[in-house]
């Protein structure tokens, strides 16, 4: 990454901001993103309702059994359980949506020929990639924001109220997970000019992450430790449980950085090969 001087840094930031603003602008004018937002909000609202009623019903039933038959009582933190299950589901919805958000990041530039404009402007690949990632992440965060608000509204109603930190940690985890997945997805979209192929590759990477997670849970010994450490899904699950480790930040940052790095490299490499 080019470094030094305050002026250089300002130019760098200005360039990232220019890309960021243009990207965001294009989301607002594309019906596709409204559809994505609609689907996300519909599904998440629906799941929130289902999760909440299911868990409350279960607990009520257990309570009833306990009263009738004097079964041993079990302490259940209902709001926390709801939050955990809901965030898990949100994670799953996101994993379907994220590759669709990242698939067009570079394929569209290639198709429209605007990559040639970016590549011949005094702006580095790093800036372009960073600006793009920040923009798409902002879009995802915007999707998440109302959902976070109703988590607060609902889960603060319990007595005692759920710690707001738990909600923040869980949703923060979602954003970190999204950033990692989007960053890798951005790299994949920089490899091809087919949007569909970029999406398929994105899902393939998610599948690999998912297998990684399953292996981490089902193997023993050192391998399991390593896989657990590397699996972003594992770190995400921890965060939804309110378990915060600095290693999680390191792992997510590494994935994000890796995605940006590979994107910047591939843009050059592919340019050099293309006819």
């Amino acid at each position: 990454m080019p470094s030094v001087s305050l002026h250089g840094l300002r130019v760098l930031l200005a360039n990232i901001l220019a890309i960021y603003r243009r990207e965001l602008q294009s989301y607002f004018s594309a019906p596709f993103y409204y559809v994505i937002a609609g689907v996300f909000w519909l599904l998440s609202g629906l799941f929130f309702l289902v999760v909440m009623t299911t868990i409350i019903n279960q607990v009520a039933q257990q309570d009833l059994l306990q009263q009738q038959f004097g079964a041993p009582s079990q302490a259940i933190d209902v709001p926390k359980l709801i939050l955990e299950s809901f965030l898990g589901l949100l994670g799953s919805i996101s994993q379907v949506i994220l590759p669709m958000l990242s698939m067009g990041l570079y394929t569209e530039e290639r198709k429209r020929g605007t990559l040639e404009l970016l590549a011949t402007s005094p702006i580095t690949n790093w800036c372009v990639a960073t600006g793009k990632l920040l923009a798409v992440l902002t879009f995802y965060t915007t999707l998440l924001l109302p959902v976070t608000v109703y988590q607060f509204v609902a889960l603060q109603q319990s007595t005692p109220p759920l710690s707001p930190w738990l909600i923040l940690a869980g949703n923060g985890g979602l954003i970190l997970l999204a950033a990692a997945i989007l960053s890798l997805g951005m790299f994949l979209s920089s490899l091809t000019d087919s949007t569909i192929l970029a999406a398929i590759l994105g899902f393939a990477v998610l599948l690999i992450l998912w297998v990684l997670d399953v292996l981490a849970k089902n193997t023993g010994g050192n391998l399991s430790d390593i896989l657990t450490y590397l699996s972003p899904l594992e770190h995400f699950t921890n965060l939804t449980r309110g378990i915060f480790r600095s290693s999680s930040l390191v792992v997510f940052s590494s994935y994000i950085f890796l995605g940006i790095f590979l994107t910047a490299q591939s843009i050059d490499a592919f340019r050099y090969q293309r006819n």
């Binding site: 243009r22 602008q25 050099y272």
Partner: protein, 323 residues
């Protein structure tokens, strides 16, 4: 201002450019002329820093494109074959964006965008979404983005392709107005375009430079023959024997007879025989109705020079000649 030396580009096993060298002085308009697939786009992409050359150097304002890419990028405006447009943006919004990434300072930006809009005839369309613009207007937006940051060197890849005759004239005038303050390199496969807009031309064919210089002079030199179209009255054997008295005469092509019974023919020679030919005919009592040094022949030479098969668009060339 622009210095290209021994540029070679190989794609896999295909040689796209072979030892291409030329230069353009400050304020000059240089035409890169050749048929489709000759290597014009590759040359321009290398100049713009979009593609690296396999070997050789290309420098703009003293900065080499491979070793100083950022310095070069700051000093060029580049219009690729397809204008690189974000079609969902407005014209002004797009130009502001380009000005930003080209490093135009915030204070100068509005003024530069205004200049680009006005000089490309886009002032009335600045709030139009690019998607809704016609091809001609999109091409103008493409040129506007190449000049918005006031670069010393402007590279235009086929700037008039796909435009209608009126738009072509407008774009050519626009390009001519850029000369002086900017060095312009433009590529085209249209001969007339070069003679109308460019100071000098580089003829490029199958990746090699076939000639550099002023176009007419260049083609004349390359054609190495002078051709005359004649229309006269006389019977063929008599004319033949007459013409044989000119030793420099190389070739006689007999044309049709006109409705008035005049004979059309074309003669060519490696040297300038116009005066001799005219006096020979007149002194021998031949009624000469027309004698013209052939301009059309230049295009034939160009086609011969730059094409193997007759796949180039000859109709295109003649249409353009009248435009």
């Amino acid at each position: 201002m622009i210095q290209v030396e021994h540029l070679t580009k190989v794609y896999g096993t295909t040689v796209a450019l072979r030892d291409v060298s030329f230069s353009a002085a400050s304020g000059e308009i240089l035409g890169l002329l050749g048929p489709n697939g000759a290597g014009k786009t590759t040359t321009m992409r290398i100049l713009a820093g979009y593609l690296p050359a396999t070997s050789g150097t290309a420098a703009i304002a003293g900065y080499e494109v491979h070793t100083d890419p950022m310095a070069v990028r700051q000093r060029i405006g580049y219009l690729p074959e397809n204008p690189p447009l974000y079609t969902e943006m407005t014209v002004a919004g797009y130009l502001h964006f380009v000005a930003r990434i080209k490093g135009v300072s915030a204070g100068d930006r509005s003024q530069r965008v205004e200049y680009a809009l006005k000089s490309c005839g886009l002032w009335d369309r600045q709030q139009t979404i690019i998607r809704k613009l016609s091809k001609g207007y999109r091409q103008r937006v493409g040129i506007a983005q190449a000049i918005v940051h006031d670069p010393p060197a402007i590279i235009l890849d086929e700037p008039t392709v796909g435009l209608d005759p009126r738009q072509i004239i407008e774009v050519r005038n626009l390009i001519k107005n850029l000369a002086g303050q900017h060095t312009v390199i433009l590529s085209t496969h249209i001969l007339a375009e070069v003679s109308m807009t460019c100071d000098r031309a580089v003829i490029i064919n199958k990746g090699e430079v076939a000639g550099i210089g002023q176009l007419d002079e260049l083609l004349q030199r390359l054609s190495s023959s002078y051709t005359y179209d004649l229309e006269l009255v006389g019977d063929r054997p008599h004319l033949e024997s007459l013409l044989q008295q000119l030793p420099a005469l190389q070739q006689i092509t007999w044309g049709n007879s006109t409705p008035q019974g005049r004979q059309q023919l074309q003669v060519s020679s490696p040297s300038e025989i116009g005066a001799d030919l005219a006096s020979l005919l007149v002194q021998n009592g031949v009624q000469l109705f027309e004698m013209r040094r052939s301009r059309a022949n230049l295009e034939e030479v160009f086609l011969k020079l730059t094409t193997d098969e007759a796949t180039a668009e000859p109709s295109d060339t003649t249409e353009e000649a009248h435009a």
